[in-house]
């Protein structure tokens, strides 16, 4: 699957997930955004070598994945490419930081090793937290939350417009690509000599569609800002969600829960 198909699939998957009738989807977007940001700040504030403490923050993700009924498999697919870049930076740490911090059965554990693992955990946690946020929140919902946070209307409208145009264009491009591949079996992509005609066709077709979209928006009374449909969020649950997670995450950050639990053994 190429990037184009993958992008379309990702958008549809996220939209479908966010609109499902799950507990997590009924929480107000603002509560979810605030909790996610709080979580990210706390995770990134951990010291490089505090791996156990950092691992404690995984509880947030585990609980949301299980209670929110979100697919772990799909989420982990997102981490593949990210981990490649992080691995390169982490590998540099292993090379440059060779100070032995402690030994496990004779195996010397260096600062570079810990900092590399720490980078992996932080990167993974951050991506999964953002994924969980979007798995239960539509782009409309996110924009609604941004408006409540007093992000200017022009910026929010812009995000919604880009999102709408993008889906349209990706679908159009995918149809044309499929038509080309059916006429040119066995080819991996569009040959250079066909670029002109391929691009020209796509351009004409997209022009028609883009004009239709723009006209329909105008006809439906678009005056520079999209109105947000008022959805019945579970307000009380949302407040409890935000407050309880705010406190729980702080406790996880402040107290070495895992060390305490390990000490009980």
């Amino acid at each position: 699957m190429d990037k184009l198909d993958s992008a379309i699939q990702t958008i549809h998957q996220m939209e479908d997930m966010a609109e499902e009738n799950r507990f997590f989807c009924h929480i107000h977007p603002l509560a979810k955004v605030l909790v996610t940001l709080w979580y990210l700040v706390l995770v990134m504030s951990f010291d490089t070598y505090n791996l156990i403490g950092l691992a404690g923050m995984s509880l947030y993700l585990i609980i949301l994945f299980v209670v929110g009924e979100v697919s772990v498999k799909t989420a982990f697919r997102r981490l593949r490419l990210l981990f490649f870049g992080i691995f390169l930076l982490g590998a540099a740490n292993v090379i440059f930081d060779r100070e032995v911090l402690f030994r496990l059965h004779g195996f010397a554990v260096t600062g570079g090793m810990l900092s590399m693992l720490s980078l992996f955990l932080k990167a993974g946690f951050a991506v999964l937290a953002a994924y969980l946020l979007m798995a239960g929140t539509t782009v409309n919902g996110m924009c609604h939350a941004l408006r409540i946070m007093h992000v200017p209307g022009i910026l929010v409208t812009l995000v919604l417009l880009i999102y709408r145009y993008l889906v349209l264009m990706l679908k159009e491009a995918a149809r044309m690509r499929q038509a080309y591949l059916l006429r040119a079996p066995g080819q991996k992509g569009v040959q250079m000599r066909a670029w002109g005609s391929f691009a020209g066709q796509m351009l004409l077709r997209s022009m028609e569609r883009a004009e239709q979209v723009f006209d329909s928006m105008t006809l439906r009374g678009f005056q520079g800002e999209f109105p947000f449909l008022k959805r019945r969020w579970r307000m009380r649950t949302s407040i409890v969600y935000a407050v309880s997670w705010g406190i729980a995450l702080f406790v996880l950050r402040k107290f070495p829960i895992f060390y305490i639990a390990g000490g009980l053994l």
Partner: protein, 334 residues
Amino acid sequence: MHMADALVNPAVAGTMYVCSAALAGYSIKKVKMEDEPKKIAAMGVMGAFVFAAQMINFTIPGTGSSGHLCGSMLLTGILGPYAGFLTMTGVLLIQCLLFADGGLLALGCNIWNMAAYGCFAGGLLIWKQVMKKGVTRKKIISTSIAACIVSLQLGAFSVTLQTLFSGITELPFGVFAAAMQPIHLAIGLVEGMITAAVLVFVYEARPEMLWTGNIMECAPKERMSFRKVLAVLAAVAAVTAGGLSLFASQYPDGLEWSVERVAGSTELEAEGSIYKTAGQVQDKTALLPDYALPDDDSAAGTAVSGLAGCVIVVAVCTAVCYAFRFFRRKEQHG
């Protein structure tokens, strides 16, 4: 050049959020002063175009590296620096949320590195100064390339600085920068050529659509309506997304390539002072004190104890969550 959350600490991330928000606030004020209702549609289409273009990594011959389009200069050439900056902000937000391209916490950094330099350094300081005396094809091509190179160089340097101040990597600053800058020079050149091609197309179709900082001197040619040009730009976005994506490079991008190249060398030596400073900043900005691991046996024991605790707590929490889900489902069905 998208930075992940793991590459920045909260202090750096917060600072860059504030800087980017200040620029966004100023840009909104400027766009509102222009009072062009149609512009928002143009911004939406152009944003989708840049989004599509950024899905592609361009292979740079001879280096084994590739980079993707940073469309801030392109947006500035059409919409002006302020609207261009806001559009890029929107694009980066969507990329971050839907495609995990760049972190949510690092969004301020990414806006600064990929939008601010292109729109303000490339757009205001280079593009505007050259174009205010009249627009020609040659000027568009040379200015686009120059502005893209400058903005990418500044962006790459910022990535290096932000990573350094976050204290994330052990890479020496000089080595990291020396690896980042040349590769982004090549990427800037590629980006400049693509930007120039699109801007020349717009110049041919509707020259008055180009932003020059003042009223265009050349006579407008009634070849296409405003709406049609918007549609063409939208179509170009679709072409870029659909057609060229088929040829998207599988190679790592410039940042990854730079790090790989540096990490592969074993002759490099770490410079200590700047890391100490970064460490002190990290210590002061950390919300709470952390637990150090000294080089002795008790430290290993503590680590094992912590690890065991970790397994227990995670197992208990997961079991409780599944139990919660089981009883909730039962309640719903019953």
